[in-house]
């Protein structure tokens, strides 16, 4: 599994064979064809515990992380808890 540098998004990335583009937490990202949600998390070095995943506005059950294959144009949100009281910041 190869990870593409998120910095080098743009035309160059599109030419990489076997890659598709998705959005992760609002940022465009190229991933390999057939990558699952679980693999994406591992690539990003994010432990699957204590995160929630929303795929195209639908929450994915953590037991399905390794079965759900990502498709071109998918919008993924990876959510966790941060310090907070009442004041809002860093919206989705």
């Amino acid at each position: 599994m190869r990870v593409l540098d998120p910095e080098c998004s743009g035309p160059a990335q599109r030419e990489v064979e076997g890659s598709i583009k998705i959005r992760v937490n609002g940022e465009q990202r190229a991933i390999s064809v057939g990558m699952t949600v679980g693999q994406l998390l591992r690539d990003l070095q994010i432990g699957p515990e204590r995160v929630a995943i929303e795929l195209n506005l639908q929450i994915i059950d953590r037991r399905e992380f390794d079965q759900r294959t990502l498709q071109e144009g998918d919008r993924v949100e990876i959510i966790s808890f941060i310090g907070g009281g009442g004041e809002g910041m860093g919206q989705l």
């Binding site: 929450i59 953590r62 966790s80 808890f81 907070g84 009442g86 004041e87 809002g88 860093g90």
Partner: protein, 257 residues
């Protein structure tokens, strides 16, 4: 006095001081303040994971969910739909069914949109959430929230982060008389005496963030708040004397020369 436990939705808590985890310098300070406050309920916000800088530590690495009750909030949500989305994500992140529900109605005051709050609470309760609603100091709204199944209500003392203290003590007292479920005063506390007053009015707990995190010495303020809440609770249970216009001598007259 014995056996004065705080029970919310069947869960027992040892402290009546609940704290937010925002605005601290770092997680170490957050943890120290929580421990100085003696709090076992801590609120957290639901946000995107930083995917570009993975060196950033996770708050929950510092707060063991076995030791603390993690209470996610829907802070920053201005619509029912947004609040529902954040609440569902919070539950999916796997801590619990508890949610501190906020539907904010106005940016300057951060006052709750109570119509939206009731609507969102109904939906989440139907989905099995334990909804703790951040609400206005409005007794009628508090009653409605209880009627739809909220196991506690969280009326504000004053606008979030304002430090103005309890702006409407009479409303809080009316809410106390009207509803039987726990009342957790949330937001607006400025200093220890505000927290004591809330407890003296018979409220069951106080939740605060800025009053501690924004103090010059947050750890010392956390400790002050712990005593303030304890003192207020004890005074409430002990029963204050009635106010009288004139003096009553406390030393006996007999035996005077």
């Amino acid at each position: 006095m014995t056996d004065d436990r705080l029970i919310v939705a069947g869960r027992e808590f040892k402290s009546r001081l609940w704290v937010g985890t925002g605005k601290y310098k770092d997680f170490i300070e957050t943890k120290k303040a929580i421990d100085a406050a003696g709090a076992d309920v801590v609120t957290v916000a639901v946000r995107r994971v930083n995917i570009t800088d993975r060196s950033k530590e996770n708050l929950l690495d510092y707060l063991d969910p076995k030791k603390y009750t993690i209470l996610p909030n829907t802070a920053g949500c201005y619509t029912v739909e947004e609040a529902l989305r954040y609440a569902r994500l919070a539950r999916a992140a796997g801590v619990s069914d508890l949610i501190k529900l906020e539907v904010i109605g106005d940016e300057r005051t951060l006052f709750p949109d109570t119509a939206g709050l009731i609507e969102a609470a109904k939906i989440l309760i139907k989905e099995g959430f334990v909804v703790l609603p951040y609400t206005n100091d409005d007794p009628v709204v508090a009653q409605k929230l209880v009627d739809i199944g909220c196991p506690a209500v969280m009326p504000l003392a004053a606008p979030i982060g304002s430090g103005l203290g309890i702006r409407n003590p009479y409303n809080l007292k009316i809410i106390r008389e009207m509803i039987k479920v726990p009342i957790i005063v949330d937001a607006g506390v400025g200093t220890a005496s505000d927290a004591t007053l809330a407890m003296e009015y018979g409220c069951d707990a106080v939740l605060m963030n800025t009053a501690i995190a924004g103090a010059r010495d947050p750890i010392a303020m956390a400790e002050a708040m712990k005593y303030a809440v304890e003192a207020g609770r004890l005074a409430f249970r002990a029963g204050r004397i009635p106010r009288k216009l004139y003096a009553t001598a406390s030393s006996p007259i007999e035996g005077m020369l």
